[in-house]
Amino acid sequence: MPSPVIELEHIRKSFAMPGGETVAVLDIERFALDEREQVALTGQSGSGKSTLLHVISGIMRPDAGRVRVAGHDITRLGEAATDRLRADTLGLVFQQFNLLPGFTALENVLVAMSFGSAKPDRWRAADLLASVGLTHRLHHKPGELSIGQQQRVAVARALANRPRVILADEPTASIDTAHQDQVIDLLTTTCAEHDVALLVVTHSPEVAARFPKRLRLEDFNRAAVHHG
């Protein structure tokens, strides 16, 4: 039986509004993602999808509850240790790709490697880019790449430190429908090839339909039900 690579228990997260009001965004009893599992997480706008990813990745701390990533309870770790764990075990793919504009495709991957425990490896970075079909674009900056190519760089960068999980936040939101399938194919295939679990957050039913396992945030986030 596969063990969970991500486990959330009794998570609560709320934000204080300017008027002094507190708005609960997450109230999750339990959530888990198994090794090599590929899951699409859907939810309405404002249902807390991005907040959930931030809590899982340790970018944001929950008000209560426990977050275990690759067996480590990150709510008990210090900030630097959480950063290191994030660099080593999680790969992030953002909606706007968020590539560093002054760096080439190869350097974007190398920058990610430089924050992990392993020594940055130029050859491996080039191999990763080659595996997503960018052999001839290693030294191009993001501005010189097409949207699809930028997305590929983002996927290669997410794999830089041999992560256990890739968290993708609306990876198809800023691209046209024709390219959405290509991106999802790239993510699912690459993750399968590298034995990496994949959690894709999307608001698109079409994208979610491409995944064997689909979850609606409203189904397990009581704050989303209450709020949404």
Binding site: A80, D83, A87, N98, L100, G102, E107, V111, S114
Partner: protein
């Protein structure tokens, strides 16, 4: 990729902004370096005069400072001339026509006359005797220019330099019987391209004055880093024979001629000197200063002339003009540095704001806050070093460019290679410290970047 690599990439990404910041810093540093070097060169030039081979200058009554500036530094105008007979009062019996020792001869070790008023292509011409280079010395008394610890590190002596006799890089001193022989200071020879054996004709009173008979270069002095480098020294016997140099005296026999060869010297009664460089004697059991003090009092109480102590006048000059000037320059320098630091601060704040999203992305990729902080600081140090070194070089180019102007107006030699070693050595670490200080605010802003906010 190292943090240095990331910082370097970020600089290249913002090449225009980073370049402009470095440029503004470079201009500030250039101004600072030029100010420091010129200030140092001026001070050193005046201090270099303190190691003279004489401790007293005797000249016409007037400003003692003017007498020193004119006689030692070859700037300002001569006060007036003093009679030859007054000069003879400093000579021993053997050097006088009457065979009787002069009034002051007992207190004098060496007395060298100088006559001024002519120029050769903007350089001062000094008529003197061979004793100037045979008996006088230079370079003593000045403190080492580098800090003692650095001097030790370089394996040099920390002791003040001892007075040295004049040396010739080419040729030799003129003999007293070579009426039309001349010696050139190293700078004069280098600038004007003159060599031993070349003729040169001084002009009377100014560059465009009456052209005198030519003298011949017998020797070129080795560099002394003193005002002597800027002097043209001719045999005063030849000097006296030039038109307008003989004091008009009724009944005096006219000069036999001024053509090179064996001309008759100018009669004594028609001679005058501008100043006498005197080294006082140390009387048995008494310090030399006491002899000098007594001689000075005696001379200043008389009607024929005044005595000035060059070191005292130089100290007064430094206290009155050079030190306040240094203070003013230091103030300007400080303001320039502060403006440069604000420039770095503004640029780095702009940089931090511009790349908040990039910082957030790096943090999301696992960069620790300390790594982000270090990257911003490294970026500031690179800009400070780049701008600082460029400014340092530019400062020296600036000094080299305005050097001739300084030489003409202040009588001080300033070139591309002139340096204020101590201040310049301290400048680079100071700039790096300042850059780090200025970058701290934006670095802390990057350190505290709200990752979730920027990732949306």
């Amino acid at each position: 990729m190292s943090l240095f690599g990331i910082a370097w990439r970020t600089i290249r990404q913002r090449l225009l902004t980073s370049g402009l910041t470095a440029l503004s810093l470079a201009l500030g540093v250039a101004l600072v370096v030029a100010t420091l070097v010129i200030g140092d060169v001026v001070t050193q030039a005046f201090k270099s005069g303190s190691g003279l081979g004489y401790n007293m200058i005797v000249g016409a009554k007037g400003s003692p400072l003017q007498l020193v500036l004119n006689s030692v530094y070859l700037i300002s105008k001569p006060i007036e001339n003093i009679p030859w007979t007054f000069y003879e009062e400093f000579l021993p019996a053997t050097a006088r026509p009457d065979g009787v020792a002069g009034t002051f001869a007992g207190s004098v070790q060496t007395a060298v006359p100088i006559c001024m008023g002519d120029y050769f292509r903007s350089y001062r011409v000094v008529g003197t005797s061979a004793a100037y280079f045979d008996r006088l010395t230079y370079g003593g008394g000045g403190p080492p220019r580098l800090p003692r610890w650095l001097v030790r590190l370089l394996g040099q002596s920390t002791a003040a330099a001892a007075p040295r006799p004049f040396a010739f890089s080419a040729g030799r001193n003129f003999r007293d019987d070579e009426f039309f022989g001349g010696v050139l200071g190293s700078e004069v020879a280098a600038r004007l391209g003159l060599r031993v054996g070349d003729p040169f004709a001084p002009t009377h009173g100014a560059d465009d004055g009456l052209v005198h008979d030519p003298f011949t270069v017998t020797g070129i002095l080795a560099r002394t880093d003193t005002p002597v480098d800027r002097g043209v020294y001719v045999n005063m016997e030849g000097f006296y024979l030039q038109e307008g140099h003989a004091k008009p005296v009724e009944g005096a026999a006219p000069a036999a001629g001024s053509a090179p060869g064996t001309p008759a010297p100018l009669p004594r009664e028609q001679r005058e000197v501008t100043a006498i460089l005197v080294e006082t004697v140390s009387l048995p059991g008494l310090p030399a200063e006491l002899t000098a003090m007594a001689l000075k009092t005696q001379l200043n109480e008389g009607r024929d002339g005044q005595a000035a102590e060059p070191i005292r006048e130089i100290s007064v000059l430094l206290g009155l003009f050079v030190r306040p000037l240094e203070l003013l320059l230091l103030l300007v320098t400080t303001l320039v540095v502060i403006v440069s630091a604000i420039g770095i601060l503004v640029s780095m704040v702009g940089s931090a704001l511009e790349r908040s999203r990039d910082v957030a992305v790096m943090r999301a990729l696992g960069a620790r806050r300390s790594q982000v902080l270090a990257t911003v600081l490294i970026e500031a140090v690179i800009i400070a070093l780049g701008g600082g070194l460029a400014g340092w070089a530019l400062g020296h180019v600036l000094v080299g460019a305005i050097g001739p102007l300084i030489t003409t107006n202040a009588g001080v030699s300033a070139t591309l290679l002139s340096a204020a070693p101590t201040a310049e050595l301290l400048l680079v670490p100071f700039l790096i410290g300042l850059a780090i200080l200025a970058a701290l605010l934006p670095a802390l802003a990057a350190y505290r970047t709200d990752v979730a906010k920027w990732l949306g």
